[in-house]
Subunit: 231 residues, 4 copies
């Protein structure tokens, strides 16, 4: 395994803290670059503290390949469930940022308020764990829950978890970080726009598709800055 | 008295500043680990400045055991009143964070907006000092006021004080800090969710109980990070 | 003139930046400790940069006593007007913080949302410069405008200036700083409380008077912390 | 070319990050001081990282004069379009700050909430790229789009771009930075004022003209502070 890959994944974790998306919790993972049947994710640790040596390797059923005494996150099943169902997904971020949670609590859907949030224009489903599992502790702590969550995500880029947080997925690690950040920013913009009243001239689905293509092609400019800030 | 206990309590004070819950005021206390008839709390000092040597010891009637010339907080009666009535409470935080105060001013109750705020799902009462004491200076400055406040708290984890602030209690110090932080965060989330309109799919009481058990069991991960940030 | 007085006044300016009340503008003054017919105020300078040597002395008609080539703020007339009319006022802060300005634009009055904002409970008038001077550049740039503003302030602690900012006055410098800070915090609290809907159980006038007396007596604890942060 | 000019333009970019107006994106330009048929603008780079050597020179049709292998921003056409049409404009800032975007999504117009935002009093038009170009990727990536945007700006100081961001123009670089900053601050103020309900006593057009003249004359005080913070 290329050391630079582990460094990047650890940096992604610290970036999402630095950018205000993660607090003392939150985790980001990526599919194994050589083996699509595995994924990489930090051991159970505050995201601000993650370094390359904290990255563990899992099979898609969330079994550690070589734990070396490290304790994994319980919620790795959220990641494994998605990698199993969405072959196009190469990286996943899961957090609980304060501006996003409201949209998982009410019926008003998230919108793509500007070009950086273009990936939201296709729609943002809400996963309510009660629908399949009744009264729970809310945690995505089993393969069954992870699979149900992946079903709810469908082919979208972002999924809201009721009374919990969100998941952002992408075709590469920098784009997953980008989408997590702008899910949060767009949520703040929408909260303010909704407060002004009246309809919101958000991006429509086709505008979103076009703008997202630009974002995916130019994410490197932001990624280099974000990485520099946490090095 | 183990020095590490005093260091932890002083750190708790600085953590709550670092996390934006305390400003130039606010105080946190813990029950004496060897003697349930006593509690530990900083002398009257801005919480950002508290160090181990600032920690004083009080009997439950709020008399200093050995003041050594240090001046106690007037509001130690808030702490003493609760320790006397709630034998399960081992630590208490009291602050005035801007997102929480609104819920003590209006009739809309606080809700548990996500798993980290699970301890709110049992309900959050409001203590209006006018009900028992008429027109006052608002300060919990006597044993009588402290006892009335403890009555209003009942068996809950958080109490709002009208036009004043909040109290969070817990079975250990890290959990009291955790609850103070996520009272504040959940208040922000709820303010935004309410602004979107419509009913809020917050945690129900049983979901809250289950999620809170997880939080209490895993608080160490956050606590270590928070402590590290203020060391 | 005691050098420590000048240091304190300069610190007050930097404190109000550090606490988020001033941005690149804003000014704070104090009455001359030995001569009630004079006041002290920085030369025209961004408040973050003010040091003791930047403090100038003015007579109440806003003439510099000994300018030494330093350029005064145009808005010193706001300060002079109040010192001339309010003999109890020993210090004044004037800023434009984002949470306060809204209350000068709408008809909803500011309230004292909690004990730290007790000084607002007596009422917060709004000065609309149009009422006396018609269409202007909004700046309090003459003795006449300063006097009109002092009239609008009356015997209150805080005055809002429509489409401009606010003035906080107090019987000493630390209390003027305290009032400027908690005018801003209370405005934020009220904005959030109003958004929740329904009546707001703010401090009534008598509660405000009692709580304010406590604040004035204990402001030193906050002042020492704030000063330490900008030293 | 005077090196100090390049340093100032690079500083303007970093200032707008430091002041919370730019994030990982955003760009600021100025007309060439000796040749009104050219303008200066950073190569494609996160604004926090811009230094003097990153500044490129363009003709008004957005062709680099001497690229030296540096890659320009696609959106230079936004700048070129305005310089071609507005001979009074000497500097332009374009960003996507979260408080401003809402006003490009709804029908409620931006107002000049206080004297620092006086330049908004003349009115703030909204450019919806759909009106002329149908479904696009939102980016101002051609001379044709730049010209249409300049048409929408008219003789105003600020233009909102639907689902995208804003443009602020001014007669000199410090004033363009000032206007970008206070567009953002005033948007925050207005969002809060609107939430309080009722009409907003913003600056009228003539008050705005008078207050703006003061701002343009005194911008140096803020500019020196802002520059110092990013040096």
């Amino acid at each position: 395994m290329d050391r630079a890959v582990l460094e990047d994944l650890a940096a992604a974790s610290r970036i999402l803290v630095d950018q205000g998306v993660f607090d003392a919790a939150g985790h980001v993972s990526m599919r194994h670059p050589q083996d699509p049947g595995r994924f990489l994710m930090s051991r159970s640790l505050a995201p601000e503290l993650v370094a390359a040596d904290d990255i563990m390797e899992f099979t898609l059923d969330c079994t550690p390949s070589d734990a070396q005494g490290r304790k994994p996150f319980i919620e790795r099943f959220l990641h494994g469930g998605i990698y199993a169902k969405r072959l196009d997904v190469m990286a996943i971020a899961h957090g609980h940022s304060a501006a996003v949670i409201p949209f998982g609590l009410v019926s008003k859907p998230m919108r793509a308020t500007y070009h950086n949030a273009a990936f939201l224009a296709a729609g943002v489903p809400v996963f309510d764990i009660r629908d399949r599992f009744g009264i729970t502790d809310i945690v995505i702590s089993s393969a069954e829950r992870g699979a149900a969550l992946a079903d709810a995500l469908g082919d979208k880029a972002v999924l809201l978890l009721r009374a919990h947080g969100f998941v952002a997925v992408a075709p590469d690690l920098p784009s997953a970080v980008f989408r997590a950040i702008f899910t949060e920013v767009s949520a703040r913009v929408q909260l303010q726009a909704e407060a002004l009243g009246g309809p919101i001239a958000a991006l429509d689905e086709e505008e979103g598709r076009k703008a997202d293509a630009i974002n995916l092609a130019t994410v490197g400019r932001s990624w280099e800055l974000w990485k520099k800030r946490v090095s």
